[in-house]
């Protein structure tokens, strides 16, 4: 590690601080020295709170969603017009609006109680799992970065380049059946890893903050893909002038797991494998230990002999690869008829919520992704049968983030003590004991 220290010294003109210390947006010495600690502590709390908080946030968000469904419902509005002459009308209207909406959500996401047999009844749950597939991969990518103290919001760009790479191999290259899928997936995952790795490298080499660089790379990816989709010979389908790719070759399409009637495909299995791999990586491997150590306290990690810069790059590479997996399953499993520039479907950002809700643990991410997949699948049915706007689902998802993330952030913004924080706790308890 001494080699590394001397390298750091060499670049100290450009980057006066160690990378792990704090992003260089804060010039050294202009703020209180514990400022970085304050924000890092807030991020740590946001991303690794207790399970009760996650559950509570979901319950509260669903309750708030009920209020919105009731308020926007035409029947409720009409009945509340004469609330004082017959209040029971209003309550029954609220009941039927909210009850109907959530019944439809359940019917679209878990179990179709209108279906005749088990095969039809379970169809919505399979659809939920299918919607969850990319959220699992992308959620893992974001969660892993969280654990290393990095905020990867470049999921959109990483998914887009992964989709483009996997898609290009998928329709443009002629290969035998299993090999084709392997090559396409490798290309997709590698593309995602490289795209995210650029941000990691920039952070390691220059200290550029990953939030800024990953956002910028989102735009770069989007416009790059848009250009390629509009250019014959790159991604655009031959014979067409629409910005859309040709359909994937039959040899590369991920087979459906449980027959043609369910959309669930092999991508879900890969996502589950990724969950186990990330769990092993974080909890059983040396690399994962380094990730977590850097996330907890980069200074201590460096003192303990961990190369913080190399770890930053590795984290971003692995995170990008996981998000790349999500982009790959999108084009090889979900939308195989050719894709355009919104193939990321906002998953890069939903993944942040999934990682938060899942407490940045692999199995937590799995559970949160399935919940969000269920919201997605159910939202469509809720809209079609009860005429509830799809935005309600978005509101519920956003409120979940708000309920989880807001308290620690508010405390950090206003310099309030985080409850249970080690130094503050001692400072507060001592006078109490004296008084007692």
């Amino acid at each position: 590690m001494s080699v590394d220290d001397s390298q750091l010294g060499g670049t100290s003109v450009a980057a006066p601080q160690h990378v792990g210390d704090e992003p260089p947006v804060r010039p050294a010495g202009t703020k209180a020295p514990d400022d970085g600690d304050r924000w890092r502590e807030a991020l740590r709390r946001v991303t690794s709170g207790g399970w009760a908080v996650s559950l509570g946030a979901v319950v509260l968000a669903v309750l708030a969603g009920s209020v919105m469904i009731a308020v926007t419902d035409k029947g409720v509005q009409d009945a509340s017009g004469y609330f004082f002459s017959r209040p029971q009308d209003t309550f029954s209207a609220i009941g039927s609006a909210v009850g109907g909406a959530y019944a439809a959500l359940f019917r679209g996401a878990v179990w179709d109680f209108r279906a005749d047999d088990f095969a039809g009844g379970i169809k919505p749950f399979m659809s939920s799992l299918n919607f969850a597939t990319p959220l699992i991969g992308a959620g893992l990518g974001v969660a892993l970065a969280f654990r290393a103290g990095l905020f990867n919001i470049g999921g959109r760009g990483q998914m887009l380049v992964a989709a483009a790479a996997a898609g290009w191999v998928g329709f443009g290259v002629d290969l035998p059946i299993v090999l084709h899928l392997v090559v396409a997936m490798t290309a997709g995952i590698a593309a995602g890893a490289i795209w995210s790795g650029i941000a990691g490298l920039l952070k390691a080499a220059t200290g550029a903050h990953e939030v800024i660089t990953t956002i910028m790379l989102n735009y770069v990816a989007f416009y790059l893909i848009s250009y390629m989709l509009a250019t014959p010979g790159l991604l655009q389908a031959p014979g067409s002038s629409n910005p859309k790719t040709p359909p994937m070759a039959d040899t590369v399409i991920m087979p459906r797991l449980l027959g043609a009637q369910y959309k669930l495909n092999l991508g879900f299995v890969f996502a589950l494998v990724a969950v186990v791999l990330v769990w092993w990586l974080l909890n059983r491997s040396r690399l994962g230990f380094a990730f977590r150590a850097v996330g907890e306290n980069p200074d201590a990690a460096r003192v303990a002999g961990i190369d913080v810069r190399r770890t930053t790059v590795s984290v971003m590479l692995v995170a990008g690869g996981l998000i790349g997996l999500a982009g790959t399953t999108q084009v090889l499993g979900t939308v195989t008829t050719g894709f355009s520039s919104d193939i990321d479907a906002g998953i890069g950002f939903d993944a942040i919520t999934v990682a938060l809700l899942g407490r940045s643990t692999p199995f937590g991410v799995l559970a949160a992704a399935i919940l969000f997949g269920a919201f997605k699948a159910g939202g469509s049915v809720m809209q079609a049968s009860e005429n509830v706007p799809i935005e309600i689902v978005l509101v519920i998802q956003s409120l979940i983030v708000l309920f989880i993330a807001a308290p620690p952030l508010v405390r950090a913004v206003f310099h309030l003590p985080q409850p249970g924080a080690r130094p503050k706790k001692r400072a507060r308890r001592q006078p109490k004991e004296v008084a007692a």
Binding site: K74, Y82, S226, I343, G346, S380
Partner: protein, 371 residues
């Protein structure tokens, strides 16, 4: 004391207001007809369900999703049919959303935009009993010149014909000898406006021996002006400003709300520049454009979606592809409104004569739909 008084007064007032809000409907029959039902309620309802699914733009895009939605909804209301709508957020939603509507028992499903083409073909093949109406695309994803499923009715619009008229009018109206256009993204459904516009200008030059030039459209995607999206943002404004700076005095922005950015750029330039609207008559749909809008190139998706759903609801299903033209009124040019005094009456008469010539086939307008 004062506070209590104020609270008491407020409470009384509130109670009065709420009490005045209305009496409960007398009995159950009345309760179902009084609230919600409008004068559009027909005498009887029929056993038919019309449904619509949007693309990622949403039903409030002030463009093709919205127009298609309005047409479909109007037809469903007039038929007394059931109606359901589903909005898509991205392309991964298309297929599940169509599936949800199939499960809801829709008889006709209107899908909006070329982006839904593949998903529509898939659903149509799986559900041969349901009629699909696909707006703005021929449902030909293997490019063999035929639609890929029998039970799809494609609605297409040869807007180049209407844009041709607007181009002729703009060339005659322009004093600087330069007219401009720019688009959202180089989709065929966007460039068809720009291309028809240029053909109209060129035709004017040919007839009159003038040399009015078109800025922003070169005749192909290469070198033409696009904002890269369909949002009214700074990029759109800068694109518009770059064209205005080259001295144009008529501007045709093609692509949803980007005309709003064009209006900002026109206001910044301080010059008198006329705007040409697309899809709907801007003079009617957006009153803030009334001082600027010379005319609008109409693409009557509301009318054709309405016709298709009405026909289907009355049991008169046909899967013949519909192509909106000047002849059948599916495309057209809006009245001059405020510009009536500023446009030479002879020029407008020429435009009207030109319309007849195009319908009669004496003047040829080319587009990707008639190649």
């Amino acid at each position: 004391m004062k506070k209590t008084m104020r609270a008491a007064v407020l409470a009384t007032a509130a109670a009065l207001v709420l009490a005045a809000c209305g009496a409960a409907p007398e009995d159950e029959n009345e309760a179902t007809t009084e609230p919600g039902a409008d004068e559009t309620t027909p005498a009887e309802t029929i056993d038919y369900k019309a449904c619509i699914v949007s693309d990622a733009g949403g039903f409030d895009d002030k463009s093709f999703n919205q127009l298609s939605y309005e047409g479909t909804k109007k037809a469903a209301d007039e038929l007394g049919a059931q109606f359901a709508e589903v909005q898509s957020d991205s392309e991964t939603d298309f297929q599940p959303n169509i599936d949800s509507l199939v499960a809801e028992g829709c008889n006709t499903i209107v899908t909006v935009g070329f982006a839904l083409s593949a998903a529509t073909v898939e659903a149509a093949t799986a559900n041969p009993d349901i009629e699909f109406v696909l707006i703005d695309d021929a449902a030909d994803n293997d490019f063999n010149g035929e639609k890929d499923a029998e039970n799809i009715k494609p609605l297409l619009y040869d807007t180049a014909q209407a844009a041709f008229l607007a181009g002729y009018l703009a060339a005659g109206y322009s004093e600087s000898g330069k007219v401009g256009t720019f688009g959202g993204q180089p989709y065929p459904t966007v460039t068809i406006f720009m291309d028809g516009f240029k053909q109209g200008v060129d035709y004017y030059n040919e007839v009159k021996g003038t040399s009015v030039s078109v800025i922003g459209w070169t005749g192909s995607d290469e070198g033409s002006s696009f904002t890269g999206g369909f949002e009214a943002n700074d990029t759109a404004k800068n694109t518009a400003a770059a064209i205005i700076d080259q001295g144009v005095d008529v501007l045709l922005p093609v692509g949803g709300p980007i005309y709003q950015s064009a209006m900002d750029a026109i206001a910044d330039s301080g010059r008198e520049i006329a705007l040409i609207g697309v899809d709907a008559d801007f003079y009617e749909t957006d009153p803030s454009t009334q001082d600027l809008v010379l005319t609008s190139i109409l693409k009557k998706m509301d009318v054709s979606a309405y016709d298709a759903v009405m026909a289907a609801g009355q049991g008169d299903v046909d899967y013949e592809a519909y192509v909106g033209t000047l002849e059948n009124g599916g495309v057209g040019i809006a009245p001059l409104h405020n510009f009536e005094g500023k446009v030479d009456a002879a020029l407008w008469a020429e435009v009207e004569a030109l319309q007849e010539q195009i319908i009669a086939g004496e003047v040829e307008v080319t587009s990707y739909l008639n190649q």
